[in-house]
Amino acid sequence: MNNVQIVAAREFKQIAGMRSFWLTLLIIPLSLVIGGLTPSLINNDEPDRVMIIDRTGGAEAQALQQRFDADQNRELLGDLSRYVQRHHLEGADPKALWAQHDRWYSDADIAQFEAAGGLESAQSKIDRVKAKDTPAFEASPPDYEMVPVPASLAKVPDAGLDDALQDVLKPKGKDAKPVNYVVLVPASFGSSPVVRLWSNRQPSPDLVQKLQDVLTRDLRTRFLASQGLSAAAAQSATSIAPALAISTPPPGGGAREAMLIRSILPLAAAYLLMISLMLSGSWMLQGTVEERSNKLLETVLACVSPEELMYGKLLGTAGVGLFMIAVWLGCGLFAAYATHGAIADMIRPALDPLTSPGTVIAMIYFFVVGYVSIAILFLAIGAMVDSMRDAQGYLMPVLLLILLPISILMQAVIAGNSGGVLMEVLTWVPIWTPFAVLARLGLGIPTWEVIGSGITLAAFAAAEVVLLGRLFRASLLASGQRPNLREVVARMRAVQS
């Protein structure tokens, strides 16, 4: 092991020995888990309770009930299809609707599914071919539950319902379950289009849409019948709808969603670069400041050259940064495994860029060279100051300079903007190049720009190693006030102290 490696190992060990390192390392996966759990904690899995008071004889209530059931079955069929696709269970019944994926299930499909025995029949077929370790299918809970109208309420005249429904919508008893929606279809429905809806909260657009659809269709049927059309023809006329054939372009073909999915990995690399750099860079800065303030640099420099010390520190910090990323990726893989591939299915399209060796090489190159070119700035700052307070004076402007344009860039990429002057500027200014190129890789960046900016970045990093290396060496044993700009430039020009 040479001195560079020994210094790097010490740096790594020192940072890895800090409590703040482990806390930070775990905070990101933890926050993702909490972020993932929050919606399910906030979401109410209980179905909304709906009561329909149908004064027309019950036909409208029945139509609504059928619509709720059909939508519920459509969702169930979709879930079942995804489950079968994920676990490759199409062999259970290749002709079954749930073995055909990526399609919209029509009302006829739903009826066919029910006629074939519904979920129970499908599950028994699937169980015959399913491996033992394949998890069982879990149907999502229904969105709505129909509540029968109590006899006492059925007798209440329409005008008295406002008062009578108070106890139904907001019952006083602790264990009493409220009804969330009450729909009144008055006896005059047909001649009058008025239908009333009571709700104990802001009505869900989904429910309102369902009511609208079913009752509109009925009104139109009645209207067509009143115009002399037969009941069957009127019924058919209201169900006429266009069959939409939906085609989406292949990934990268210009659709914003497709580009966004392709951008997930490069964007994640840019974010990881930023986070790990900021964290490990500030720890390295702390370490360098400690060496200066604890006056142990002279002892170290008697054994290693300033260059060895600098490279060792950079290597150690890069090791810390890469270790953090490896841990985060490991957490991601664990999560993908623990969720039986649900996350893996979700991110599979995002891994598409990895099929291109050029993209992979570009990602690794810009990540590593970007890391070194920014980390060395932290190192130079650490060498010039005696305390963290002094370091803040240099650090804040540098951080703002790096981070502000990057946050704007990220927003632009997420918004789907792949061009623009800002994007071009950021691509060609070396301190922003790694972030800009990584973020743009998914959107499609011309090859000549990747190569050109890569060469510029390499030249910048080489110049940094020379100039900041001199500044580092000249600053190590210098004492006194923080150097001003003139002094900093003079140190960069000094070939040997």
């Binding site: 010490r10 006056k295 002892t299 008697a302």
Partner: protein, 305 residues
Amino acid sequence: MSVLTLERVTKRFDQTIAVDDLSFAVEPGTVFGFLGGNGAGKTTSLRMVLDIIRPTSGNIQVLGRAPGRANAPEIGFLPEERGLYRQMTALDTIAYFGRLKGMTPADAKREGASLLDRFGLAANSKQTVDKLSKGMAQKVQLATALVNRPKLLILDEPFSGLDPVNQGLLEEEIRNMSSAGATAVFSTHVMQHAERLCDRLLLLGKGRKKFEGTLDEARAELPARLTVVSRTDPSKISGVESARDRGEAEAGWRRWDVRLDPGVAPGDVLERCVSQQFPLRRFEQVHASLHDVFVHIVGQPETVQ
């Protein structure tokens, strides 16, 4: 072959000359004292020997080679400004510096443990430095310099800041190393330590060499002084420069501080007293202290103790 040789070495910082045309050589097995006040150029000279900074002109040879990190395995260095990694354990700290000096991990750990044991810190080897007392940390620092059993030990103001116990420990280590054949070069402005330890001395003033030689040779630079008890004033005796009456010693006899002319030996003056039948009750040579020698040769810098 000399362990350390400097030939006409000069170091400038902008307009300031920190070391000016300095030449000297240190022979193997000697304890070599580098004496001077603050700003005399001691630390700069030692940093050049260690290749932490480079001379503006002149030539330096360390263990027969040019200064550089290649010499680190054979050098032990204790700087004036000392510090340790606060979050590292005592043993890891010593082993780390051992490794930087080319030792294997196992050797560095073994030697580190042995030094801690010798310094009475075996029980503290796993403690981080920030939990050690200042005196303990000083011992750990000394151990980092000794871990590689150096042929050349370079100590920059090694006694400054040390408590009396650790001062004694350091003196003992220097003597032990010297008797084992190693060479020690240390800078100091505390003359008592140099007087007790050094085989040879180099006196620096404003970057220039003012004197190099043994302690006796240094003392010979000062006119000899005597304490004499006589009936009459001894200043008339040939070779005496001056005599100061220090009062009555006993009835009829007075005590005199006598200063001899440069180059006059006290024995010659005693001979003249006898031949001239000059009555004496006491004739005692007073040895000059190194402090007196330093002040005589270099001047009176405020920091010399």
